[in-house]
């Protein structure tokens, strides 16, 4: 059997698999997201941009990735 190379995370409310040993910048690349004007919440805490490269995505992480969209009041 091949070695398990994926972990399970909850991204924007959906359970998905992603490769192990990714940091958050690599996760954005993996998701093909342009990092500009995004914000990340990791397990209910803000993950500042400055930490994206240093922080590994862990199995079971609950992650929210948001951006600005049109909206009124």
């Amino acid at each position: 059997m091949p070695m398990q190379e994926n972990i399970s995370i909850v991204l924007n409310g959906e359970a998905i698999q992603c490769p192990i040993n990714l940091n958050f910048l690599e996760l954005l690349n993996h998701l093909e997201l342009e990092p500009r004007s995004l914000a990340i919440e990791l397990n209910r805490e803000i993950l500042p941009k400055s930490e994206w490269e240093n922080r590994q995505v862990e199995n079971g992480d609950k992650i929210e990735i948001v951006q600005f969209v049109g909206g009124g009041l």
């Binding site: 004007s37 995004l38 990735i65 948001v66 951006q67 600005f68 049109g70 909206g71 009124g72 009041l73």
Partner: protein, 257 residues
């Protein structure tokens, strides 16, 4: 006329019309409306990125955050906790701390929950946010959120998206008179005269979305709103005549044939 700017949390603006970025046919039309309205501030929402369709247009490609002050709002939040999460993310995404807080109470009216709003205002102020707070037109609660540190008071004229116009002019005027921070009517404007009334009451500005976005010609309505806000502001500064019960002829009575 000499410069008549207004200042919120140390930021100076000449335009007194803030527009939303929802409900437009496209971001392109939204951008044209922003130009026609001469808006300097636009409200924006914070939402999950679309992971399935990445070809969707980006707001920032049409309304440049370097040209417009983005005012993140918490529309759709029904608890202080949801609003706090949203605005912390907004600050991280945009890198600025001027935000519009709204905590709603009920789907049907979208009236603000003032207890949650007050609680969230206190926490956000402590965390260094400049909070423009959407509120009821109750002068007592308006005072409480000002005392909690809000940098602008934003009473509703009527329910969000209703287009009913300013329902309680007396209360809006009372809030204007008592406040030491800017007061902006937020929600309820339906057409240009409603915006003019808000400004004639002495408000520092008006925020609207649906009145422009759902007009048959949104860009033309944006222009109408620009003129209405200017007209109302100038009328307020000029000081209206007193109201009388009977006629008072405008032509001299002397020299009548």
């Amino acid at each position: 006329m000499t410069k008549d700017n207004w200042v919120v949390a140390g930021r100076e603006f000449s335009s007194r019309l803030i527009i939303g970025t929802g409900k437009y046919a496209s971001y392109e039309q939204n951008a044209q409306a922003a130009i026609a309205a001469n808006a300097q501030i636009v409200t924006v929402a914070v939402r999950r990125v679309n992971l399935t369709d990445k070809s969707k247009p980006l707001l920032t490609d049409y309304l440049n955050p370097k040209e417009y002050t983005y005012l993140p709002n918490t529309a759709g939040c029904f608890t202080a906790d949801d609003a706090l999460r949203t605005l912390r993310l907004a600050r991280e995404a945009g890198g600025w701390n001027l935000v519009k807080l709204e905590v709603l109470s009920d789907q049907k009216t979208l009236f603000p929950d003032m207890l949650e709003t007050l609680e969230a205002t206190k926490i956000l102020v402590k965390e260094g946010f400049d909070v423009m707070a959407y509120c009821t037109d109750d002068p007592v609660f308006a005072r409480k959120i000002e005392d909690a540190g809000a940098c602008a008071i934003m009473p509703l004229g009527a329910p969000i998206g209703s287009g009913l116009g300013i329902q309680n002019r007396v209360n809006i005027r009372l809030i204007v008179e008592q406040s030491r921070v800017p007061v902006l009517v937020d929600a309820g404007v339906g057409t240009a005269s409603d915006a003019a009334i808000a400004m004639e009451l002495g408000c520092d500005g008006v925020l609207m979305n649906t009145a422009i976005a759902e007009a048959k010609d949104p860009v033309l309505m944006a222009s109408a709103m620009k003129h209405a806000v200017i007209a109302g502001r100038e009328a307020y500064l000029a000081g209206r005549m007193g109201k009388k019960s009977y006629a008072d002829p405008s032509s001299p009575l002397a020299g009548l044939i």
